[in-house]
Structure formats: C-alpha cells, structure tokens
C-alpha cells in the first residue's frame, strides 16, 4: 500500500522527537497518530449509525401512530406472530452479537485462530436467524397475510371459524390489519436486508482475518463492523418487543 507514512513534521516538531514512532502500513498520513485515526473512524461509524436510527426511527414512529389509530386491528394482526419463534430469534441474534464481541477481543489480543472461529460462529447464528425468519415469512404467505391483492381478512373477521378465540373485527377494521403487516414486512425486511449485507461483509472480513490482516495491531474493520452488527441487534430487540409482545394483553374498551 502507498499509505506508508512520510511524516510531514520531521525536522519541525520537537514533539516528534519525544518518542519513537513505529509507523504501521494502515496508518494514513493525514492522521497524527493511529489513536486519532481510530477515533475518527469510530466517530464516522457512529454518524452512519445515527442516520440508521433516523431511518428506522421513521418506521418506528409509523408503528406508534398506526397502533394508536387502529389499535384493534394491530392487536389482532400482532397476535398471529409466533412468540416462540420471535424469542428464539432474539436469543440467536444476541448469541451472534456475543460471538462478534469475542471476535473483537480476539483481534485485539491478536489471536488469529480465535478470530476466525468467532467470525464463523457470528455468521452461523446470523444465517440461523434468517432461516427462522424465512419460516415466519412462509407462514404469512400460507395464511395470506402479505399485504396486497391476495391479502385475506377472513381470519380477523371470523376468528371462530379458524379455531381462534380472538375478538372478531368489523370488515373495515379488519382491512387495517394490512397496515400492521405492511409495517411488519417493511421493518423486519429492512432488518433482514441489513443482516444479509452484514453477512456479505462478514465473508470478506473472514477472508482477510484468516490472511492475518486484523491480528497485527489493525482492528478498525472488525471494530466498525462490530458496531454495525450490534446496532442491527438493537433494532431487532425493539422489533421483537413491538411486533410480538406488546399486544398479547390488549386493553379492554
């Protein structure tokens, strides 16, 4: 790489002479020290995550508003989601995040083998999450709960015919369940897209990790990816609470 340091301050700055600098190839010349480079990198990554908070935040706000407007439809639709599958996926994603945190540690203490293994575990649990999500999406497909032309409200209009004990909804109210499922697919879908992008990046990180790129003092790609991966975890924690849990005991009118 041509980023090997040509120190601009040589011969000018007495601070330069106070201690020996060992320049490492990943250190870009426009940063005084690699600490500064690292903080700038973290800062930039966090700014990106803030834009992600705003992006998902808009969707969370839509959920908040429409749940208040069409409360009964949101309750009925929400209770078709499987809490055991959602809870299992939460545990799986937390486990994936745990392995990513361990990968960060492995890079910092320069254990290449541990880094590779923990990255693989991170990926395996990520794929497990997407697998369960696929099962859930398929369930929605079978039940005609995907918004659009083939959406079917009959389960909400006449729950008794489906062996459900839920309160029946008037047909116009039952149509509003589509809004719930629209937000469900938009939000869990965007979340899943983030996971798929993350898994793609993980393949690349894994390739570089086994080459030894991140176990010689240069951990920024692992660190910044870990921030992304944990952020995606946090989004899911809220999705699990809002789509699966908060409507299990609806308020009586």
């Amino acid at each position: 790489m041509d980023s090997t340091i040509a120190n601009p301050q040589v011969g000018h700055d007495t601070a330069e002479q106070e201690h020996e600098h060992v320049f490492v190839p990943q250190h870009r010349h426009h940063f005084a020290t690699e600490e500064q480079q690292r903080e700038a990198g973290s800062f930039g990554m966090w700014l990106f995550l803030l834009t992600e908070i705003m992006f998902f935040g808009g969707l969370f706000f839509a959920y908040l508003l429409y749940r208040n407007w069409y409360y009964d439809a949101f309750v009925a639709a929400s209770n078709t989601c499987s809490v055991p599958l959602g809870a299992a996926n939460t545990a799986i994603l937390i486990t994936s995040g745990f392995f990513m945190a361990l990968a960060m540690w492995a890079a910092e203490v320069r254990k290449k083998k541990t880094l590779v293994i923990t990255l693989i575990c991170t990926m395996l649990f990520g794929f497990a999450f997407l697998g369960i999500k696929t099962v859930e999406y398929h369930e929605k497909w079978v039940e005609h709960h995907i918004p659009g032309a083939s959406f079917d409200v009959s389960e909400f209009v006449n729950p008794a015919a489906y062996g459900l004990h839920a309160q029946p909804l008037a047909p116009d109210a039952a149509q509003k369940t589509q809004l719930f499922f629209f937000l469900y697919f938009a939000m869990t879908g965007m979340h899943a897209l983030h996971m798929i992008i993350g898994l793609g990046i993980l393949f690349w990180l894994l390739y570089r990790a086994q080459r030894g790129d991140f176990t010689a003092g240069y951990v920024a790609p692992i660190e910044n990816f870990a921030l992304y991966w944990h952020f995606v975890d946090i989004i899911w924690v809220y999705l699990f609470a809002l789509f699966y849990l908060v409507n299990l005991h609806p308020l009586a009118h």
Binding site: E39, F61, A91, F98, V109, R110, D233, Y238
Partner: protein
C-alpha cells in the same frame, strides 16, 4: 540527530492501538462479554414472561423498558461506548436526543390536528 538523543526507555508507541501498554485503549475481556451475554438472555426471558402477564397499560411500557435496557447494555459494553472518548459518547447521546425531539414534534402535530373537534 534527533534519534541519536532518543533514549530507549519510556517506550510508548501511539501508532499501535493494541499494544498492552496502551492505557487509553480498553480491551473488554471475554468474561465481561459473557456477563453481558447472560444479562441480555435474562432480559429476553424476562420480557417474554412479562408479556404473558396481563399488566394493562404497563405491558408496552415494561416491554419497551426492558428492550431499552438491553439496548443500553449492548451499546455500553458490546459497542464499547463506556470506554470511548467524550466525543463519541456525546455523538451517541445527541443522536438519540435528536430522535426524541423529532418524535415529540411529529406526535404533537398528530395530537393537535383535531384539537377541539372531539
């Protein structure tokens, strides 16, 4: 000539962030990560149990409270915010503050649109 005067003691290498002598860079240990992991799994179990009890208006509040606690734990330890500089901490806090401002402004719009018409 500067390097001739350079003594070998007090060796400090600021360009090497994972050097163990580097005090400003905190390495969280696997044991600490395991504790965080256990706390997050406990939170998940708790929120499922709480959701299955009828607590009236408190169901969503408790579910979001536990979710937020888990999110803060993830940010502090997994995302190392606890060990970061003031710049990073302020950046993270300002993002959430900005989000709350936007939610408050949008909600006050929706709440006040039909003001007096009910």
């Amino acid at each position: 000539m500067a390097h001739e005067a350079q003594p070998e003691q007090h060796y400090h290498d600021p360009s090497n962030v994972t050097n163990p002598e580097h005090a400003s860079h905190h390495i969280v240990t696997p044991a600490q990560y395991a504790m965080v992991f256990a706390a997050l799994l406990t939170g998940t179990a708790l929120t499922v149990v709480a959701a299955n009890i009828d607590l009236g208006v408190f169901n969503p509040i408790i579910a979001l409270g536990i979710a937020s606690t888990k999110a803060v734990i993830v940010m502090l330890f997994f995302m190392h915010v606890k060990y970061q500089s003031h710049l990073i901490k302020t950046t993270v806090a300002s993002g959430f503050f900005m989000f709350l401002v936007l939610v408050t402004m949008t909600l006050s719009d929706y709440i006040s649109r039909a003001w007096g018409l009910w």
